[in-house]
């Protein structure tokens, strides 16, 4: 996948996505995936690590995210500048449609990448917050399986929530 691999002494790992695409990542990226940290530390990560729940499309995005975070944190810049830089990157990174966002959230949960999980959950929350119930249903294709009477009862029970 990675065509411009240079011969460096850095340790690299191979990650295989659900659809069989193999990604080469450096150690600084791989260790951010808590789910495989033990494999890496126990030197059991050969020849490659299979990630059964993540498609290549989403894995590519996850790697892009981890790579940027690893580079920024080791860049030698001051903490405040690094923070600013990560914030800008995160904002742009979250500028994807809601389906990708859900996949990313699910992947971050499965791969156990805490910062990405928090970021996607926060972003999904803001999508819900700015919309009415009907709009949220439409955006995520949530099917309303309440009967009219049931929905009315739920709304009445917490009337203040709908004020």
């Amino acid at each position: 996948m990675s065509s411009s691999t240079e011969l460096t002494e850095k340790k690299v790992f191979l990650l295989k996505s659900l659809d069989g695409v193999i990604f080469e990542v450096e150690e600084s990226v791989a260790v951010q995936l808590e789910v495989i940290r033990e494999l890496i530390e126990g030197d059991c990560a050969r020849p490659f690590i299979s990630l059964y729940n993540v498609t290549s499309e989403i894995l590519a995005l996850v790697i892009e995210y981890c790579k940027h975070h690893a580079e920024t944190c080791s860049g030698g810049t001051s903490a405040t500048i690094a923070d600013e830089d990560l914030k800008t990157f995160d904002n742009e990174f979250m500028n994807v449609d809601e389906n990708i966002l859900l996949e990313l959230c699910s992947a971050a949960d499965y791969l156990d990448i805490k910062s990405l999980f928090e970021l996607t959950c926060r972003t999904l929350a803001s999508l819900i917050k700015d919309r009415t119930i009907i709009e949220v249903r439409k955006m995520f294709n949530v099917e309303n399986d309440f009967s009219v009477v049931e929905e009315k009862a739920v709304r009445k029970e917490f009337a203040w929530a709908f004020k």
Partner: protein, 433 residues
């Protein structure tokens, strides 16, 4: 290098409910970021969502939140904010509440607030934010011995009336925003009861009944004090407001103080960064006051980064300032000076012998007649000759003093890499050395 494929909306994703497929723990985590009003509202999305919110760990109640302001008078919708909060807490399923944020106006009575806080404490609350509790003149007794509390913010209208056996054994961060206290001792005891406090933020309001602000904490690392952003209500000439700090482990200090007349600051040997703003006040000519200011600045001598504005424009100030010690560690100095305070720059130049970055900002002068106050040192300071790399001058007005200073720095700055000068109209005039 791998490039992510372009993804267009819904490409490869047939219309299906993907969000409800996420594990409940993930959905609850998403709901935890919402104000509780919004989280509870998701209960009508579908039957799957009906009780999801009951497992969220963060509760955030704000009585002013309203989806549709025109609806509030709707007679069909009679549930009040206190009823809502009580009902949510009653149905809340989780054994712990990590965060409780409570912002309520006049509709809440003390008995409500007492019950809510007590519920949160019995469920091991870690983060508690209480804001604008109008009519609540004291907090429940068990609040003052909460073992699990890590982060506490009190804001507006809360009066601290402390019991004798108060103790917060886990509290790391405390914010007191416009809180009033029964008396000076209440405040002192409150701070001392936080055994492992790392970060303290205090913003004083004029009706807080505090004369001596005594902060004593052997483990405190970060302290931010904003005293009198609106100074009108304070009466410094009536009360001799005093600030006393004993915090030997402090690494960061921010003080913006229009109120205190007397500073008594203990040793600050671990201090790395300080951000100090002091202002002209009625005692600007008082020797004792200036003495305590200079002594205070002397305590900052360990810092690496210093931001300083002392808007005390009396000639006495310049005379007393010569007593400040060396600032060996200082690398970056951000100085705000009024136009007749160039002596401050000269003094600090002299004392900070390892300075690498200097930013100074000239603020407008209150004096009607401009006094030339830049006196060129006989010998260029060490820092200027060997370390100073970057200088930024903001608020340049083209006065003779200012040209003299720029010339002096350019002539003597042996390792100077860049000097930027910005005029008062923010037009940059840039000269590279």
């Amino acid at each position: 290098m791998y490039k992510a494929p372009e993804t267009s909306r819904n490409q490869g994703f047939p219309l299906m409910d993907r969000i409800s497929k996420l594990p409940d723990s993930v959905l609850c985590h998403i709901l935890s970021f919402l104000p509780t009003k919004h989280a509870v509202a998701t209960s009508v999305l579908s039957t799957k969502w009906q009780f999801l919110w009951t497992n969220i760990l963060n509760l955030d109640f704000d009585s002013s939140l309203c989806f549709n302001p025109r609806n509030t008078e709707n007679s069909k919708n009679k549930m009040s904010f206190p009823e809502f909060v009580t009902r949510v807490l009653l149905l809340h399923n989780s054994r712990c509440i990590k965060t409780l944020r409570l912002k309520c106006g006049g509709s809440c009575e003390r008995r409500h607030v007492d019950a809510w806080i007590s519920t949160a404490i019995s469920r091991n609350v870690e983060v508690l934010e209480l804001c604008a509790l109008i009519g609540v003149d004291r907090l429940p007794h068990r609040f003052f011995t909460c073992k699990t509390l890590v982060d506490l913010k009190l804001e507006n209208y809360v009066t601290i009336r402390v019991p004798g056996n108060m103790c917060f054994p886990s509290l790391k961060k405390l914010q007191l925003i416009s809180v009033s206290y029964d008396n000076d001792e209440s405040f002192t005891e409150l701070i001392s009861a936080c055994l492992v406090l790392h970060e303290l933020i205090i913003r004083r309001s004029e009706h807080d009944y505090l004369v001596l602000c005594n902060i004593s904490s052997p483990v405190l690392k970060s302290l931010k004090l904003i005293f009198g952003s609106n100074a009108s209500g304070f009466k410094p000439y009536l009360y001799n407001y005093k600030l006393k700090v004993y915090a030997p482990a402090l690494e960061y200090l921010h003080l913006d103080d229009k109120v205190s007349m007397d500073f008594s600051i203990g040793e600050l040997t671990s201090l790395v960064e300080a951000d100090i703003h002091l202002y002209d006040n009625e005692l600007g000519n008082d020797n004792q006051y200036l003495d305590s200011v200079v002594k205070f600045i002397g305590k900052l001598s360990q810092v690496k980064f210093l931001s300083l504005s002392i808007n005390i424009t009396t000639p006495l100030m310049s005379a007393t300032l010569f007593a400040i010690p060396l600032f060996h560690n200082l690398i970056k100095l951000n100085l705000q000076v009024a136009c007749c305070q160039w002596h401050l720059l000269r003094t600090l130049f002299d004392r900070a012998d390892n300075l690498e970055v200097l930013v100074f900002q000239k603020t407008t002068c209150k004096l009607t007649t401009h006094q030339a106050c830049w006196i060129e040192p006989h010998q260029a300071p060490t820092s200027l000759l060997s370390c100073l790399r970057t200088v930024k001058f903001l608020g340049f007005e083209g006065m003779r003093d200012e040209f003299e200073i720029v010339r002096f720095i350019l002539e003597n700055g042996k390792v100077l890499k860049s000097m930027e000068i910005y005029g008062i109209r923010r037009l940059p005039i840039q000269r590279k050395v």
